[in-house]
Subunit: 242 residues, 6 copies
Amino acid sequence: MTSFARTGDRAANQLRPVRITRHYTIHAEGSVLIEFGNTKVLCTASVEEKVPPHKRGSGEGWVTAEYGMLPRSTHTRSDREAARGKQSGRTQEIQRLIGRSLRAVFDLKALGERTIQLDCDVIQADGGTRTAAITGAFVAAQDAVNGLLAAGKLAASPITAPVAAISVGIVQGTPLLDLEYVEDVDCDTDMNVVMTGAGHYVEVQGTAEGVAFTRAEMDQLLALAEKGISELVTLQQQTLSK
Amino acid sequence: MTSFARTGDRAANQLRPVRITRHYTIHAEGSVLIEFGNTKVLCTASVEEKVPPHKRGSGEGWVTAEYGMLPRSTHTRSDREAARGKQSGRTQEIQRLIGRSLRAVFDLKALGERTIQLDCDVIQADGGTRTAAITGAFVAAQDAVNGLLAAGKLAASPITAPVAAISVGIVQGTPLLDLEYVEDVDCDTDMNVVMTGAGHYVEVQGTAEGVAFTRAEMDQLLALAEKGISELVTLQQQTLSK
Amino acid sequence: MTSFARTGDRAANQLRPVRITRHYTIHAEGSVLIEFGNTKVLCTASVEEKVPPHKRGSGEGWVTAEYGMLPRSTHTRSDREAARGKQSGRTQEIQRLIGRSLRAVFDLKALGERTIQLDCDVIQADGGTRTAAITGAFVAAQDAVNGLLAAGKLAASPITAPVAAISVGIVQGTPLLDLEYVEDVDCDTDMNVVMTGAGHYVEVQGTAEGVAFTRAEMDQLLALAEKGISELVTLQQQTLSK
Amino acid sequence: MTSFARTGDRAANQLRPVRITRHYTIHAEGSVLIEFGNTKVLCTASVEEKVPPHKRGSGEGWVTAEYGMLPRSTHTRSDREAARGKQSGRTQEIQRLIGRSLRAVFDLKALGERTIQLDCDVIQADGGTRTAAITGAFVAAQDAVNGLLAAGKLAASPITAPVAAISVGIVQGTPLLDLEYVEDVDCDTDMNVVMTGAGHYVEVQGTAEGVAFTRAEMDQLLALAEKGISELVTLQQQTLSK
Amino acid sequence: MTSFARTGDRAANQLRPVRITRHYTIHAEGSVLIEFGNTKVLCTASVEEKVPPHKRGSGEGWVTAEYGMLPRSTHTRSDREAARGKQSGRTQEIQRLIGRSLRAVFDLKALGERTIQLDCDVIQADGGTRTAAITGAFVAAQDAVNGLLAAGKLAASPITAPVAAISVGIVQGTPLLDLEYVEDVDCDTDMNVVMTGAGHYVEVQGTAEGVAFTRAEMDQLLALAEKGISELVTLQQQTLSK
Amino acid sequence: MTSFARTGDRAANQLRPVRITRHYTIHAEGSVLIEFGNTKVLCTASVEEKVPPHKRGSGEGWVTAEYGMLPRSTHTRSDREAARGKQSGRTQEIQRLIGRSLRAVFDLKALGERTIQLDCDVIQADGGTRTAAITGAFVAAQDAVNGLLAAGKLAASPITAPVAAISVGIVQGTPLLDLEYVEDVDCDTDMNVVMTGAGHYVEVQGTAEGVAFTRAEMDQLLALAEKGISELVTLQQQTLSK
């Protein structure tokens, strides 16, 4: 790895300062503010004692997610999706990704016929909102599950593993961990990786924004992501043990 | 006024603790978190160097607002309006009210052909979100105007007066200032009042939720509102002078 | 009050000629054409032996309203909301106001699990359509209730009081009762007042279109409205007794 | 023709009483209430000095129509299309038919680059609303054109012929002219015919609701329609000459 | 009939080469590609063991249709209706026509409480897509019914007759059978005719695109359509007997 | 690799029979039917001499894609997206993927200010529709570019490399190339890979449907994909050279 200069002299393989604040709001069963540098995402987990139609009567529960950005979470104001009357393709893609990532570590049978609805709303954006959302949503979901266990509604946890996510990319030839916004717009290859605490892959989404990338580059990016996610999983556990 | 017991021994004519935090997020020209007890609304002001079609070529600017609630800002989760594909009647009513209230203290000619877009997003709801939004949006708008003045884009401020708002209501026969959620659901009459710093009315919206109210009751409510708004205007000015 | 000249030498505190025609169309359980000068609104009341989801099994009924303007009821043609695919914020605000106003004089328990659906459609607009709609809708609702009583479906009337509404405003410094269109576009302050037959308030919605208004001005406006509504309630009763 | 008994002893080949009231509302350039027995449709013609995109710069004008039913114009209440957020297939079919029928008697070149927008709103429905709409819209369009001629905006009329429409059908084996609602729901074949004053066809839309119909039946229906439309064209001319 | 020159020396009363391919795709209960020259429409029939709400509990089934054009089935690309978020008025008109035409030859009682859903998708358009759709959908529906008979789910066929459709029109004064696209855009009168195998009418929809047409012209067009449909019904039977 | 039995004794690393038919429909500038076994996707490329707003005046062109499934392309009928009024999240994800993949091999500067619009419509689905769409869309795009070159509208090709795509997955522990539907629903890990002719990655999207996958498994899948795409690129070139 070479000499690309990052904000605050961050190393190429270094995460931004990550902060996870539990119980950020008072109504939700799980409520987490997660910050990666200037990126701030509020992740709430709501427990509903019902399931969507395709799960009714199945004995299984459901875990799903929605994602949104406040209109001025971004450098220039984005249209409010509620006012435009529809969610963009990007929004739908992201919320489907969050939902799949969380379901990957849930035993829906063990959850019983209830839904955990995750809402990930970006308060301030500076790159990596979707991976921050996944990492924070896991903590919110764990808090919601802990509440169900404490209330005796669940006998055992339906969560099978921790899950966290990070973005990696190649900027000016240098593979970087945890891209902030100015790096993201400048990158040739952008990859979002979701992994379990055991180091197995839940999702890998790599896109060549400029030139196509080689197998060697992919291997470098996957190694960076593995390092970052391992640190994030540790941080999640520390936060949850408080 | 009688013996209705309020949270934290609050007096009938007392505001909840109000906190106004400027520069809450980094991208917007004005960004204010306003808290009335547990109610928390993020108000951003975005300056755009263009105007909507009905103002093009008029030499006048525009001030407008949008309002939203995060799905889990409420006791039980509300549907995400972006996912449902439309804003509710309530949302539209509120954002029209915020827009009118702010325009009432703007000289649009003096603003020039630019738009100040106010976004009021409820992070946590405990009653009085619309009046908190107006009170906070004024501070965000002032910060945005100050930025235009500092940048030399405006020679003089287009803001003609401060504006603030509060809710009042009659609960179990007692007129109360600044209703929190449990009071709001229980009230017979609910009134939202918007006033300028000079003590003049911009909006009065009174609704009998239960039995119709008398002129004497209205007078009591208006007096409470006047007291509360006067305190809020003072707080706005203190905050802005920091 | 001073020398503002009104159409047809109308006094500042005088209503336009008001005409209420019952049984205007043949299918609805209540059907009223109400005219305030050139403003003409068709108000129908439809009885449906079912309630919306939030009232099912409650033993209570529901009263609700919808509002629309024919595209060429106005000076220049307005877009047809059905063709645009959504109701404007103004339309939603008005129909919510009509619904609340009528519910304020209904004992929903006494109505039983049925719905009275009010449809207020503006045939010709010349100011004051929302207050005409409320005043006319009450007569239509009374006719519908009378039909239920006559058919033995109700033993006693669920209507607890008459309700009527009027607009008032300040034009060139003069407080006026019952604004027609040219007065409405020119006014500084516009207030819609809804009162019961007993002279109590159901709704007060005052808006400063230009400069904010003082408490003294509000008092003048409320007095004008009280006079006008008292006359309207008398007219409603005369019409219903025919 | 045989012994089918119609309301008011109407003969099988007899129109209902038809009444055409011009200048029914005050704002539109043409405004006509047309009544076929209990069917009442308000037809307004609005002149706009612009054309839709596909006609811009063509030197030609445009004539188009929209159609709607008030929610309680029908026996039981129909959903308001503006509230549902879309026009039904039936509504779209009808308004396209009205538009084509009127354009068939307009020389768009002679109209110049302006639009005549026809709005046909059903106040009360008892069968035959679309044919009443066409017949009434022609009178409203003629009034709008007369206004343009009087104002010197047009040198010669762009209207090339009168146009009118009627429904015919076979009920219990009997061909009938001008079906009212109870006949319409009971009919086997339903045909809407639009003709010019010269007795030529603009539109023929025949539908077998029950069993398919024979050529002999179609000939009977076309003869009935021709008789009815001839009477309607005479009535249009009488009304316009007042 | 006179000297209008058609593609490939086709006679005025001659169909284009018509080809009907059954079992065109593998999943649907009936799947037919129908070609009229360059017009190609894929018609599938899907059997669903449920009925729409208005038929539930009636003991009757339902037959309905949807229609679409692939975006580049046309000379220049048309917007994708799914992307625009609504079906055009033309699309709705056509799918309602197809549905009515097929229902005209179905005994819904005999079908039982199940739905036959017809999907007609235009792969390539060169005029006459709606009439091709009806003619092809009948074959697909027959295949679906044959499947139900073979599976013992129906004891007797609910189909009462064959149904087919063709377009006819007057181009430069010449009545023509089966218009292709260049004839269609050039025609003065355009008529779509739907008939049963017995030669009775299900639908007749004639429109004067330019000048209104006379009764004599209509008679010529109806004769052409009768000839064409008779040939199509023969072809349908030959195809089904393979 | 082990003993998983595939349809037709296909080897784990073997593609289904792939067929690419150019000039499948007559109107589009490029029109390709691509078949992977029973999966059939029609890919058309339309050239439009304009660009979307974000490219206007940039001197650059645009390449974009839309995707749809015919309602009965699937085992059981899917709702028609045009009738539902919106495209699903899945549809939007896929069409964004196709658009990105094609843009990755286009020099938009060299294309000039024009748009190549790719429409990928699934006629019959049996797994792998999105990767078939990308592979077929490339051939359609090449045909469209060849047309522009032949017409002298382009001096040199803006296409920088071939692009093709394939799905791979792990079913019952066995890594498989080119999943058909029954394999897809049964798989633990599903990966779509898009590569250029030079063997570089454009997109990698791997998802754990069941248990998370290891790095070793990912390496096996990437190797399979590389083999398959290499064969597809060869086939594209053979087809295009005919």
